[in-house]
């Protein structure tokens, strides 16, 4: 990332002739711009965040803690953690593989692949959920296959009916939908980084006799570790916080298929406002931890490059 920034500087320099012009605006302009930015942050980020904690603690610490003693809340937290524990590693593997093949090799259809990786960002989460209902629902493709009178591969149909897999309205569906919406995070983080780093170091490693795995573990991975970690943090935050796509495939069965965001909605709808905000504050806490981790990573990363 740092190299991308310096690249920008180089490009901007000759065009303007005054590289330091940005800092020559009057103090008044600078201060008012900073003020506007700070006010905006206060109003749209800090205030709502503070409100979550104030509402959560409004009825005292006892009520706050009680919200987490509820078995439904515990089940929701457990399901959210399980989902993230499957979705994040899956997307780390996929993200590294995709970034690796996109940045280190030349092949046809590369731009198509990059566009496909971005697709989940462009699609509304509700549509992402409905895709899985259409694929795995009883009225969807899978359902039609299971109910078909003369299917292809009758043994497969028989086997599937005997196994009786639950996909949507169960944990697998929630995991699938989460993987889908968090798909681009790791890959998107790694692609620009690996592009900027180029393939020189890998060439050197291969020339010195390293095989593929050695090149990856000893050269590529150490180079991308901070970018990768950053991608993981973002991916995890979204995996735990996703509402729309998960809501569609969840079925909303209490203690079974409700994730934390869905549980918050239920508590709110049942007039348990303090409990709703208590669980929400746990999610907000996660957001803050994410921010702190992100800052640490950026700081370390900046030092490593300096």
């Amino acid at each position: 990332m740092a190299s991308a920034v310096s690249h920008l500087h180089k490009a901007a320099g000759p065009a303007h002739g005054h590289p330091s012009r940005v800092t020559q605006d009057s103090p008044w302009v600078r201060r008012s711009l900073t003020g506007v930015a700070l006010l905006f942050l206060m109003g749209f980020v800090l205030l709502p965040l503070a409100a979550v904690f104030v509402e959560a603690l409004r009825k005292g610490l006892d009520v706050f803690l009680q919200a987490f003693a509820d078995p439904y809340a515990l089940a929701a937290i457990k399901l959210t953690l399980t989902t993230a524990a499957i979705a994040v590693p899956a997307n780390v593997v996929f993200g590294i593989a995709a970034a690796w093949c996109i940045t280190k090799f030349q092949f046809r259809g590369k731009s198509v692949l990059i566009t496909l990786i971005d697709l989940p960002f462009a699609v509304s989460p509700v549509i992402s959920g409905l895709i899985f209902v259409l694929l795995f629902g009883l009225q969807g493709w899978l359902g039609q296959y299971l109910n078909a009178e003369a299917p292809w591969f009758p043994w497969l149909q028989q086997w599937l009916i005997e196994q009786d897999f639950k996909i949507i309205f169960a944990t697998p569906g929630i995991v699938l939908a989460t993987i889908f919406v968090t798909f681009p995070f790791v890959a998107r983080e790694l692609i620009p980084l690996m592009q900027a780093q180029g393939v020189d170091e890998e060439y050197a490693a291969v020339t010195l006799g390293a095989n593929g795995w050695q090149t990856f573990w000893r050269v590529t991975l150490p180079n991308i570790k901070w970018g990768l970690f950053y991608g993981v943090v973002l991916c995890n935050a979204r995996a735990m916080g996703e509402f729309g796509a998960v809501s569609v495939v969840s079925g909303h069965v209490r203690g079974e298929t409700n994730t934390m965001p869905l549980h918050i909605e239920i508590l709110y709808n049942e007039y348990h406002f303090a409990a709703a905000f208590a669980v929400a504050s746990l999610l907000a806490l996660l957001a803050i931890v994410t921010l702190v981790l992100k800052s640490i990573i950026e700081w370390r990363h900046g030092r490593a490059n300096a």
Binding site: V133, L138, Q139, G251, H252, Y268, N269
Partner: protein, 332 residues
């Protein structure tokens, strides 16, 4: 040899656990306002069933807009029983997915509706806009809260109640349509379920009047205090009969058919009818109905069968794509 002995050991275990008390899990897929009712009823049923058979029943609940919930069951949500807002939402379980027989509604007393309810108005304390009857909802400057009839069962009852009122008062379906169109022009937000609308009106403070399930209105007053809201009962409203059904195909597959059937039958028992009255639904059992009669205002009630020729017909004319709701709402 080894495999055989393993198998017989396994069979023995199965046989033993079959004889001992079982843990049974049911899933009740219901509509929005029944959350509190079923929390209480599930505990009562679990106790009853434990005493009767020794088995432990845990009933899991899922709530949402009635139409949306039905759609989930059709798409594969494994409900043992559905307890939805109207028979029109349960019918597709037969028509689309063949999960239940066509005559499902004849299997339990009272058209499979163990409780009834009606549609009333919730207004802010002191009734500042002086809302007394359906007429007042169509007046300019009155902000009306009701959910979306496409996804919410309660909203469909609301819509039809307004329609029938206008038809009786002004004499024709055309005039009823004009009246309902005027009411919907006063609606600022269409939530997807009844509970969402309650929160919009009660918590977010939007709207002058909330067309609501009677039980939902009582619950809001109970939760937030009589110093904030008032209940207004119109002179005429609709008799809502939220029906229940076992989802035969799912229950059979899960081996829960017997418990699921008992779960719904017990809704008609004295104990359950009392819980129903306590949660502001109108009990169908005469004894419980008499006990809770003082709780509910008297009003003239008409049934969907008498006024609209049943749900199938009402659904087709008013709520299917291109029906009267689309006509008035898309024109808006």
């Amino acid at each position: 040899m080894k495999l055989k002995s393993l198998l017989s050991a396994l069979l023995a275990v199965v046989a033993v656990s079959g004889a001992a008390a079982k843990d049974i899990e049911l899933l009740n897929v219901s509509y929005d306002p029944t959350r509190e009712l079923y929390v209480e009823y599930n505990a009562a049923f679990a106790k009853y069933w434990k005493a009767k058979t020794g088995d432990t029943v845990t009933v899991k609940q899922s709530h949402g807009g009635s139409g949306k919930q039905a759609r989930s069951v059709i798409d594969g949500l494994r409900a043992d029983v559905v307890t939805l807002a109207l028979s029109g939402d349960i019918d597709p379980l037969h028509q689309v997915a063949r999960l239940i027989p066509a005559d499902w509604q004849a299997r339990l007393p009272n058209n499979s509706a163990p409780y009834t309810s009606t549609i009333v108005f919730l207004v802010r304390k002191g009734n500042p806009k002086q809302i007394k009857d359906w007429d007042d909802l169509a007046k300019p400057g009155v902000s009306v809260i009701t959910p979306n009839p496409k996804t919410s069962g309660g909203a469909r009852w609301n819509y039809l109640a307004a329609w029938e009122f206008a038809k009786r008062k002004y004499g024709s379906d055309d005039q009823a349509k004009d009246f309902v169109a005027k009411v919907y022009r006063n609606v600022p937000v269409l939530d997807s379920g009844a509970r969402g609308s309650t929160t919009t009106f009660v918590q977010r403070g939007i709207g002058d009047v909330f067309i609501s399930w009677e039980n939902e209105a009582y619950l809001a007053i109970k939760e937030f205090g009589a110093d904030k809201f008032e209940l207004v009962t119109p002179a005429l409203s609709i008799l809502a009969e939220p029906p229940v059904s076992v989802v035969d195909k799912v229950a059979k597959k899960k081996g829960t058919a017997e418990v699921a059937k008992a779960y719904l039958e017990y809704l008609y028992s004295e104990e359950a009818q009392d819980i129903i009255g306590k949660n502001f639904y109108r009990p169908t059992d005469p004894k419980a109905a008499a006990k809770y009669a003082g709780q509910f205002s008297k009003l003239e009630l008409f049934t969907i069968a008498d006024a609209f020729g049943g749900w199938a017909k009402a659904q087709k004319v008013h709520f299917d794509d291109g029906g009267t709701f689309d006509q008035i709402y898309l024109k808006k």
